[in-house]
């Protein structure tokens, strides 16, 4: 691979957004989970929900802070490295991403503060309302990101004037049919990610024989939510596949590693796609299944990558494996959540240690699925940055040199490695400590300083270590 500003900028964008997305994805799910638990507390009056709420609120605060800090960098990436993209499509992408930033700030400046600091200052009903608004706000934030990305995948509602791509119909841009499939797909992914983390935390305490009551609630809720959500997610995943087939046939062929047009088409389950030979090595295939998956009948003709001019073909390796890793993680979540509920039905969930280990170890399943799914979507869109309108190779800031981007990439890699590992370390410490007393007020902490809650984790853990 030749290193030039384009490939380095792509790596840099992929790097900073990968580190960013794990935090918002986690917080979207956590916000919904917190609202649910607070609702349960209000409804049942059971104090255990309060302990669970206070515990996850701290985790939420730190993740939210990490998301905000890594998000600041994202706000500048489009201009620093993708100058031509930002100039040509800025009048569409700018307002969409602007709405996202403003939504996040609205949230931070209002109900997030009530949620963190207002427990004793507002009525219980209003507190629950604030929790619901925070959850709604995180979803709204993801709405704008998905609206923007869906427009890049399947541009709609624009016109081209003097080489600039400008908005013609905002309704079509924001609420296009592709968006209406991809946004729920992302939301469900975030909910599942959090559900798995909550189940895994419960399983962890169960295995360590601590916080039994809280662990049981976490396990039951987490596995229950995941069991219900996963079939819905598989359905939306299927709809996402259909939009790809309809609007981005080359991406679909790459995901399927289908080099030649086939009739009927086989489904490649696993293989090593070899771009040089335009063929698959070690392919494990099921005949005719490919036609059935794509077209619903066993004999349809399915086009392969050969049908596209060489310069319009996406790479195969990452979409092919990305998709399979995502689906694999989905199946793991399906297996864990359904088996868990089965065990629970027979009253053996808490005593089946091998299953608890399995649940604990599957905590990253949702994160891996999200990253793999995004890699599939973004790499599969290549060689376009805005599908059919602007090529990635033409989108980079023209003044950048290879060494400029090399410097920034190394700097981000270094700082992110340190910063994000500290953040994850603090979240880990909070989780290891588990639910204790009520969350303590932190002097000088406001809603715009959620990372201060990392401090709480540290002192709590420090005390435990001394004790």
């Amino acid at each position: 691979m030749e290193f030039d500003p384009v490939i380095l900028s792509r790596i840099q964008f992929g790097f900073v957004i990968s580190f960013h997305i794990i935090f918002p994805a986690f917080t979207i799910g956590l916000a919904a989970w917190l609202a649910t638990i607070e609702g349960m507390r209000l409804f049942t009056g059971n104090p255990i929900y309060r302990r669970i709420f206070d515990f996850w609120l701290k985790v939420f605060a730190v993740s939210f802070g990490m998301g905000v800090v890594t998000g600041i960098v994202m706000a500048f990436q489009f201009g620093t490295n993708w100058g031509v993209l930002a100039e040509r499509t800025g009048s569409i992408q700018g307002p969409l991403l602007g709405y996202e930033a403003f939504t996040a700030f609205m949230l931070e400046a209002s109900f997030f503060g009530v949620m963190l600091l207002g427990r004793d200052r507002v009525s219980p009903g209003f507190y629950l309302f604030a929790c619901c608004m925070v959850s709604f706000g995180t979803m709204l934030s993801s709405f704008w990101i998905l609206a923007n990305n869906s427009w890049m995948q399947v541009p709609l509602g624009h016109e081209i004037v003097d080489g600039k791509i400008i908005p013609a119909d905002w309704r079509e841009i924001v609420l296009g049919p592709v968006m209406m499939v991809r946004w729920p797909h992302m939301l469900l992914a975030a909910f599942l990610t959090t559900a798995m983390c909550i189940s895994a935390t419960g399983a962890w305490y169960m295995l360590r024989r601590v916080h039994y009551a809280e662990a049981q609630v976490m396990l039951h809720w987490g596995l229950g939510l995941a069991a219900v959500l996963i079939p819905v997610q598989l359905f939306f995943g299927h709809l996402t596949g259909l939009y790809v087939l309809k609007h981005q046939p080359a991406k679909f062929a790459a995901i399927e590693a289908r080099w030649q047009t086939e009739q009927p088409a086989a489904e490649v389950l696993l293989a090593w796609p070899d771009a040089a030979r335009q063929d698959n090595r070690f392919a494990l295939e099921i005949p005719k299944l490919g036609s059935f998956i794509a077209s619903g009948n066993w004999s349809a003709k399915e086009i392969g990558l050969e049908a596209f001019p060489a310069e319009d073909r996406p790479p195969v390796l990452i979409p092919f494996f990305g998709f399979r890793v995502m689906v694999g993680m989905g199946l793991i979540m399906l297996a864990v959540s359904w088996l868990g509920n089965l065990l629970r039905h027979f009253g053996r969930l808490e005593s089946t240690r091998w299953f608890l280990w399995g649940t604990f170890l599957s905590f990253p399943a949702g994160f891996v699925a999200i990253l793999a799914g995004w890699y599939t979507a973004e790499v599969g869109r290549q060689p376009w940055v805005v599908y059919g309108l602007l090529r990635t190779a033409d989108a980079v800031t023209p003044s950048l040199t290879t060494s400029d981007v090399m410097i920034s990439l190394l700097a981000y890699a270094l700082v992110y490695a340190a910063f994000v590992s500290f953040g994850i370390w603090y979240i880990y410490k909070l989780l290891r400590e588990g639910p204790a007393g009520p969350a303590l007020a932190i002097p000088g902490a406001t809603a715009s300083r959620p990372l201060a809650y990392a401090d709480d984790a540290a002192s709590a853990t420090g005390a435990a270590e001394r004790g």
Binding site: V73, G90, M106, I166, P167, P443, R449
Partner: protein, 331 residues
């Protein structure tokens, strides 16, 4: 070409956001810079306490600026970030560094020295590149086909370096007046003692920058900007100078509230001076407000976000400062 009403609304909104950012993050970056000039842990802890409730919210305005520029003036967003690729990188990493250092130094015992240095260096670097960017903007930015047409080190010239140093001293002055306003006892005395030196530093660096501008770094762009400071517009630099003088007087008289207010006035007047020099350009001297504005459909669509969110953020900002008003306790 005349800018539309919506374009002027957004240009005004962004200008106000920049000014608010400079004043607010200015004092906490300044405290961060002063933080590095003492080794006394008690002073350091109280410096941190004086900015703890505010600094993160202050940085919010930076993202408001970035998001609004991309939405309303994508051409400016692109050219600015292209021209200042490395300074922006340094600023973002500096801000992350100081943010992390701020939160993690409390718990650290062995690694506290490291976080302390990180807080100081992060503040210093972020401030310096902001100042250098102002200087480089005044020298003019080459633009071709709507993109920055230069290299990533074009900004590095004597004049921008001097404006960078000037802003470091300026923010430190703002920080020292903030400490005078928010603290008492030894730390307030310490801050009072530094105000005259920082004032002298600001004046000397501004003088040097002026001398550099008319000698080694002379460009037509700088001259053109200079000519715009004529007639009634002369009031701005005069107000800035008078306010700086007032800071010195107020510090001698030990009137706790005045130095910060007067330093802020001098920053506002300096900002107005710069705006006059650049008008009607957003990227001197290549893109005007009208050139750079997004189509009306985009400005209108984003207008709804602006009229709802900006007042909320402003109200929240005021609310936080109100809640944490008065001197910081010694506890």
């Amino acid at each position: 070409m005349e800018p539309s009403t919506l374009a002027l609304f957004w240009a005004g909104g962004i200008a106000v956001s920049i000014l608010v950012y400079v004043l607010l993050d200015g004092f906490d970056l300044g405290v961060g810079i002063l933080f590095g000039t003492t080794r006394d842990e008690a002073k350091r802890a109280r410096m941190m306490a004086s900015i703890a409730p505010f600094w993160d919210g202050n940085e919010t305005w930076l993202v408001v600026i970035g998001a609004s520029l991309f939405a309303a003036f994508p051409a400016v967003y692109v050219v600015f970030l292209g021209a200042f690729y490395l300074p922006v990188l340094v600023m973002l990493l500096g801000l992350i560094l100081r943010g992390v250092a701020f939160e993690f130094r409390y718990r650290a015992e062995r690694s506290r020295g490291l976080w302390d240095r990180g807080f100081f260096v992060g503040s210093l670097l972020a401030t310096f590149v902001q100042g250098a960017a102002i200087g480089a903007m005044m020298r003019g930015i080459p633009v071709e086909n709507g993109q920055f047409a230069g290299t990533s080190l074009d900004w590095l010239h004597p004049f921008p370096v001097l404006t960078g140093v000037g802003l470091v001293l300026g923010y430190a002055l703002l920080g020292a007046s903030w400490l005078v306003l928010k603290t008492d006892g030894t730390l307030r005395d310490w801050a009072y003692a530094r105000i005259p030196y920082l004032l002298a530093g600001v004046v000397i660096v501004l003088g040097l920058a002026f001398a550099t501008a008319v000698t080694v770094d002379l460009t037509g762009d700088l001259q053109r900007g200079g000519h715009q400071i004529a007639g009634w517009a002369l009031i701005f630099p005069l107000v800035a100078a008078a306010a700086l003088l007032g800071v010195g007087v107020a510090a001698r008289a030990r009137l706790d509230r005045l130095p910060f207010a007067l330093t802020a006035v001098s920053f506002i007047a300096a900002f107005a001076t710069l705006a006059t020099m650049m008008w009607p350009y957003m990227i001197p001297y290549a893109l005007t407000i009208a050139d750079a504005a997004a189509p009306e459909a985009s400005l209108r669509f984003f207008f709804y976000a602006g009229i709802v969110v900006l007042p909320v953020i402003a109200a929240y900002t005021i609310g936080v400062y109100w809640v944490f008003r008065g001197k910081v306790g010694r506890g």
